[in-house]
Amino acid sequence: MTTIGTGAPTPATLPGRGGRPAGRHSITQRAARILRGREEPAWRAAARIASIVPLGALAFTLTVLAVKAWPAIRVNGAHFLTGTDWRPGSAYGAVVRTHGVAHPAGSSYGAWALIAGTLQTSAIAIVIAVPVSVGAAFALTERLPGWLARPLGLAIETLAGIPSVIVGLWGALTLGPFLAQHVYPFVAGHVPDVPVLRYFRGPTGHGEGLLTSGIVLALMIVPIIASTARDLFAQVPPLPKEGAQALGMTDAEVARWVTLPWVRSGLVGATILGLGRALGETIAVAMVSGSVIAIAPNMYGNMTTIAATIVSQLDSAATDGTGFATATLAEAGLVLAIISVVVNVLARRVIARSSRLGLPVGSAA
């Protein structure tokens, strides 16, 4: 380590250090002195690289997917986005060529059911998870005493670390059957036959399907949204809340008029994080969706999502000697990636609009 200092173009002493000989400074002091003057360019270079990496990774991912999916895009065309048939064709039959791309005779892929399933399960998950998470975060920061809030907060964060396969297993073996036996029949028998609620009527199945998938997804994203929301609530400065109390507002009114608006854009961000996770969640959904490539006729119907289909079909796709099934899965993956990006951009617009009041999250006013 002693060689670090030799030949360094820094002066032997720093201003204000009283001209002590360099040798009497500790190694860290000497290292700091050497770094001074070089740290600014190094810092800038590091920042530049760091800012490019995520963008580059996104572009790279989309490009690779697009290249892999290109044969499927050419053959499937717009039908891929609107059709609901999913036929790999005969692996032993003739190979035909469309637009110069070889694929098994009789193969036809339409992913609308997968796209719809992805959006439906994610929407259900968000509808359930956002109120639950915000309520939990609010209770943790505002209502519960510290000795209770701390272990509960820890439990929520631990929940975020449970592998999704375990959540899926629990959903398939315990939650799904329980709901199908004790909850779904009751709900289906009691909701009125009106728009939207109509989808809660009809046959309730065996516990796999759309609603179970949505609930399992909600369970997986609650920790993400709740722990972010808790940190946001904790950042709201006390003074505006006191001001609201001093005006005679009740606790509920303080939450409604001050705390929630204060963190609104941050909550949207937390919701996007959760939504991203829900859109892409694979194995848990594959285990509780029923894995049927169709649009669920009601809330209890079997269905599947893009991610779940990719993981469950990858093995059999490899048996397609023309590689067309694999390309189709890549196309499905590309659609999923695009959905995620579009959702992100849209949500960012929402943030921009809702933070019109010029409130940086957690700013001290």
């Binding site: 400065p237 001001g243 109390q245 001093a246 005679g248």
Partner: protein, 284 residues
Amino acid sequence: MAWPASSVPTRAAGPESPLLDPVLQALDPDRDRPADILHATGLTLGFGSKTVVADIDAAFPRGTITALIGPTGSGKSTFLRTLNRMNDKVPGFRRHGDVRLDGSSIFTPDQDLLGLRRRVGMLFQRPNPFPMSIRDNVVAGVRAHRIARGKQLDVVAEQRLSQVGLWDAVKDRLRDSPFRLSGGQQQLLCLARALAVGPEVLLLDEPTSSLDPVSTETVENLLRSLTPALTLVIVTHNLAQARRLSHRTMFLFDGALVEHGTTEQIFESPREEHTQRYVTGRIG
């Protein structure tokens, strides 16, 4: 903690009543109410095992401005915040003694806390606008108490913003964020918000300590114009401000009410040596 009715001083009997003319007294709508709108008796406040202020007896005559002065840590803010029970939720807060608003205790179990705070408003050390538009800030309390709604809210907003002299500056951006206003304007906005619910007493916790001298003067003139309709209690570290603004001054030191009298008396002929040393700048 009921106060014997006979000993409640009425305005007619109050030695420092601003209304001495018997005809005016007869016309005074408050004539049957106590002359002191707020009255603290034997008030001891603390957090946990620490006592912040001890055994304070103080009366606040209706329609006057009382300044609370004293060095940091003397318990001024704790005392002030007890007057509308803002300390209730602070962990470990304890209280002995009583505060009466118009003769009745504010600490009785059936006291409507929200109603109390509507009558006893508060302005804080730093502006604390809510994360909503300027107009919504002004009417936030009015909405919460359902005093007005719909179109009336716009009337209230204009009225209160005009009252604090902010209307011309913000009338074209009522829907904008209050956080782009200057600090002084934000504090005026908070004052308009506090006034909108029609309080009888306004508690001010160093309301100008974060403002520049010009904004401070604006706020002071405004506060002066609020009396005698309102009763003001103001905590301030600025002795000149206490002298300019207040009718009465209370000097707190180390948790005790050292001296309480007219502002002129406290500053010109203090009875206690401590007061003398503080108001002449030799301690604190």
